[in-house]
Point group: C2
Chain length 674, copies 2
């Protein structure tokens, strides 16, 4: 005989059950339940990200015991508004209720959901059923009438009078007419107004961050202003950058991003290709910020003056572009802060300061501040915030933040929140390459956009898994992936030997998989020579002035221009969301569709992942998404070749060649061509 | 030129950034982050369910900025313990930390996770790396030495002395020896003891409900005591039930469950097959509780006395079985409460009370109490709790609760919590058949087990999807599925025309898919005659005394006995968890494996879903789970045919016939037979 109770220790048992007052308290607990209110991040701890102009679909699960009729409403407001906007929610089955918020303002919003027992609505529902079935009795009607009478007694003034009037009319009427009166829409409105909303329950508030469009859709071009020269001996200037603006804008970019533009330290300055023995005229890394010429609020004199910089901002705006600056919290050993605020730094027992590392990278030319020395609080925190404010006052609205994962999360949460409370149109891009939990945390606490693992995701499986995680999980609510195809720090292995087709492949992926697409200059010229065995560029521009021939043969300017044109033309390409992967029966061909919310138009993309050989595949056209049968037809526009035709049948065939290793089609259900 | 900012409304903007004190507050915010502490239910609002004797693996994500070394510990205790038990957690990569709790007591437990910056551990990690690479400098050692000195100064007594002693020895030693001392395990222990645990952060507490084994593993047999007779004219008694105990125990059941055993109302009593016109000697439905013979604390006189019932409890225990009672909160119109507490009920304007409904079912012979009338609070709530207490005092430890979804959630949360605080070994089974959110809520607020949609899940896809939801999502933490193959209320459509093979199929599924398996008597005799077009039994036992021939030919007693024997023998079958579905290339054959935590043994089950035809299929043996190659071998024990052999190769073939439409194999990696 089996032993029924595993006796491993005395049970956790109290001596007495509770008294009447505990039961009374229990009866005061909410009878109805609201669960799973979305969008939400970490149970409401952080805002979900959206952009202004979007409709935000809110969903909640609301239920109670029994079979009674419930009602729900959505309330929302911008956080500087006093009054809530209110919308009734619709039930969509299985206790799910929905309504939508149309975001009209940039900035923080909040919303919540109320639910309550809808007694009169429930009466009308049941009474209608019984009437239709011919089983309504006089007592059913009497119950409805009593609800109206009770409501009237609860109310005052006009509402009381009008409800009482209904009661009188019901009492005088015959059975049929009285039933009609009880279902009268006018009475429903009055009863709703008079409703005391029994058992009302309210969800905790949830937050939404409504940002400007560029938070999810922008096309970045990164350059070193000092390299905008045709002579390595002549340091480029902001005026040289102004001269290049038309060319960059012609490629379709809307954001021009510079590594730090501040004075470069002289102590421990680096030489060409990251050497520790610079020549006397080596310009040094712009990430080694600060010298006796100034720190984070100053401009490197060889680039120009603050006046020149403001002119550049104006000229960029004139071309429909904006400037993004680099916010890098680090100092060259001769940064003025080391003299002015030595207590912000950690001095070693031998009187030196440890140089910075981001393993395996070593930065011998920079030192880091310590956010948690007593002397740093709040002086350092406030000073860093004021650095950002200073550049905002010059007209900069977008900041790429260098290595944010090596600075405290509470600093970013406070600093970004503080800035965005006053300047909600400011965008911060997180340049963190580290473990997923840390990358995602930075998104939650305020960064609008984030660098990603994209440059290390090359195979069909890798790309599918990564972009499924970014678009199909809760991550999609707070982490916007900015897909840089390369950076001054990342010369991707895939490109070292791929030749021109590899650059087309990576540009096509980045330009269509996310609304945020970034190119570091040189990519369009298919530059890829590495420091052997590393992801570093040979003779990296980080350490030298690097003039380029922007018309060099073999460039992919045409591809980039095309991609950016399509990105501007089709809303489906202006977000990483709305992504679905489709079957293509070839592991070297990735096939996916992008769809804007509520749109009937699908942008279908196929990219060969093989830069060396032609690849072909049968692939599935998702006719089912339009309710079209497997043998039906769909109108197709080839957006690369600019041709229109139609496909008949769910399975089609494609060929991609190293010459043009990607295809982009626009599919619409109406047959536009045959 | 594209407009850069969508100007749809004034941005949500404050006038000023914050002052120094806000920055100071920010610096006080936790620097480290603990996320995703599991197990958890709704962010800690409800306990995760386990049974005593289980090891609970706790996982948390812990991280901070930068690359510093962290440490984490798990703390847990039963809620009546003052001191925490503590275990250091191990890092498993990507910031995931784990440790386990061994549950030794029945009852409520709580746990939480602490994380902190491990400065000295980090020093040792970095110093070891540098030493190994031959780049350690004197200043590195000096920093470690200073950490020890600072720790010594912070401490008192013996610890201070012993740390100071290390400092002296380091200062006197040569470079090599000083390095060894800094990495000395003895010093590590002292430094850990002296650690002030900078930046310590603590997760919110999470709850665990440790129940007795029967909460997840028990085999129920349901019968109507009054039908334990060989003569429809003679009402069965508790003594008749005692006489049947050996037979029921021989089938392997350990829990014997009765519909309500209380006096049955006479007003509006139902007749045979749910008619409203009973014959004078019709016994009525036991769910119509209460008459002038008593209410919820009384026993129907024809069944016996309270003394008889206690004897039955004793006899059951002697057979290694327990009795489960039905807790049905409803009254026949002649229940004593209607006189004693008329204010607990809702009277209609015509002086009647609405009878109960659970659409589409109508219960004209019962009325419901109203939990929220002012007169019901707290009298009704306390009285209902006391009804349960009364039966616990008689020796009952398991309650099947009728229709809990039509009574308020706060009532159940309070009542079950109150009972289990004093009697933590009491088990409540929720008989709710309603929408998923409501079913799951009842699990969250305290029910140990729940009825399910199993009786309506018949196809391979339906079963796979449902059991994936129950075992692979958060649902697995709080909802234990009790798989009844039939109930007095559910005569499953699948069985109406399946014949005997259908009963074998459903028994095999229920008996192997969950640790909780239930049979309502008559099932083993393959009874299936329905009220035409309904899931009701014809001449339902709910309304009449129903003698049976327990040896009737064509019964499946042998199958049920086998299933219950295997369930007792193999821990893998004592839970719904540990389930994996495998490929069988035939939509009529469902193939799955069950594995107990940490076990090397897999119970592999194949069930034909076709009661009419033989079915065969190639199927995949999951050799990969033992790291065996696709061509490798595995030892197999056929638990149905009692044969041992081995399979070589990942793909095998099976045939299942209506004669025995299921197979159960035990797979172990050691070749036990060839």
């Amino acid at each position: 005989v089996r032993v029924l109770t595993a006796k491993r220790g005395k049970p956790v048992a109290a001596r007495r059950v509770s008294g009447a007052s505990a039961a009374r308290d229990a009866a005061e607990q909410p009878r109805l339940v609201i669960e799973s209110v979305s969008p939400q991040v970490d149970g409401g701890a952080f805002p979900a990200k959206r952009t202004v102009g979007e409709a935000v679909e809110v969903e909640a699960v609301l239920f109670g015991d029994g079979h009674e009729q419930l009602a729900a409403q959505l309330r929302w407001r911008a956080i500087d508004e006093k009054d809530w906007q209110v919308a009734r929610m619709d039930e969509r089955g299985n206790d799910r209720w929905t309504a939508a918020i149309q975001l009209e303002r940039i900035g923080r919003h909040e919303f919540l959901v109320d639910g309550w027992l809808d007694r009169f609505g429930g009466f009308q529902r049941d009474f209608t059923k019984k009437r239709d079935a011919g089983v309504a009795q006089k007592v059913d009607m009497q119950e409805g009438r009593n609800l109206v009478e009770q409501a009237s007694r609860r109310c005052k003034g006009d509402l009381r009078r009008r409800l009482a009037d209904y009661v009188k009319r019901i009492d005088k009427a015959g059975e049929e007419e009285a039933g009609d009166l009880l279902l009268d829409p006018g009475l429903s409105l009055l009863m709703d107004e008079a409703d005391e909303r029994p058992f009302q329950v309210t969800s905790p508030p949830r937050m939404l961050e409504s940002e400007r469009l560029q938070a999810r859709f922008s096309s970045w071009y990164e350059l070193f202003p000092r390299s905008q020269t045709d002579d390595p001996e002549r340091h480029g200037t902001f005026d040289d950058v102004i001269a290049r603006l038309p060319q960059i804008r012609a490629m379709g970019f809307d954001t021009l991003y510079f590594p730090p533009i501040h004075p470069i330290g002289r102590k421990h300055r680096k030489g060409s290709t990251n050497t520790l023995t610079p020549a006397p005229d080596d310009p040094g890394s712009p990430y080694a910020i600060g010298s006796d010429e100034g720190g984070h609020k100053s401009i490197h004199p060889e680039l120009g003056s603050l006046e020149d910089f403001r002119r550049l901002l104006d000229e960029s705006r004139r071309h429909g572009m904006e400037i993004a600056l680099d916010f890098a919290i680090q100092c060259a050993p001769d940064h003025p802060w080391l003299n002015e605020h030595p207590d912000w730094f950690d001095w070693r027992p031998d009187g030196t300061i440890k140089y910075a590392e981001n393993p395996p990278k070593k930065y011998q030319d920079i030192v880091n501040v310590d956010f948690y020395k007593p002397e740093s609080i709040p002086g350092l925190w406030v000073e860093l915030r004021d650095v950002v404010l200073f550049w905002i006052e010059q007209g900069v609205k977008t900041f790429r933040v260098d290595n944010p994962h090596t600075k405290p999360f509470p600093f970013w949460e406070w600093m970004i929140g503080d800035i965005r409370a006053v300047h909600p149109d400011v965008i911060f891009l997180s340049e963190a390459f580290t473990r997923p939990a840390v990358m995602y945390r930075l998104g939650k606490i305020g960064f609008s956009q984030s660098y990603t693992y994209f440059t290390w995701r090359n195979t069909k499986q890798e790309l599918t898994e990564y972009f499924t995680e970014l678009t199909q999980t809760e991550v999609s609510e707070f982490f916007r992936p900015h897909l840089f195809v390369n950076t001054p720090d990342i010369n991707p292995t895939f490109l070292h030997h791929s030749g021109r087709p590899g650059f087309q492949i990576r540009a096509a992926l980045a330009g269509t998989l996310s609304g945020l697409f970034g190119v570091y200059s040189g990519f369009e010229l298919c530059e890829a020579q590495p420091v052997p065995g590393k992801e570093e560029y040979w003779q990296s521009e980080k350490y030298e002035v690097k003039p380029r021939d922007w018309q060099a043969p073999g460039n992919i300017v045409e591809d980039i221009t095309l991609l950016n044109r399509l990105r501007r033309a089709f809303p489906a390409l202006q977000s990483h969301l709305g992504l679905t992967f489709y079957n293509a029966w070839n592991d070297q061909i990735l096939c996916y569709g992008k769809r804007a919310p509520g749109s009937d138009e699908l942008i279908l993309v196929a990219v060969s992942l093989d830069p060396h050989n032609p690849q072909e595949a049968d692939f599935e056209v998702p006719l089912w998404e339009w309710g079209i049968g497997d043998d039906g037809s769909i109108a197709v526009e080839d957006l690369v070749a600019d041709r229109r035709f139609s496909w008949t049948g769910k399975v089609q065939h494609m060929q991609l060649t190293p010459d043009r290793p990607y295809a982009i089609w626009r599919l619409t259900p109406a047959p536009e061509a045959a």
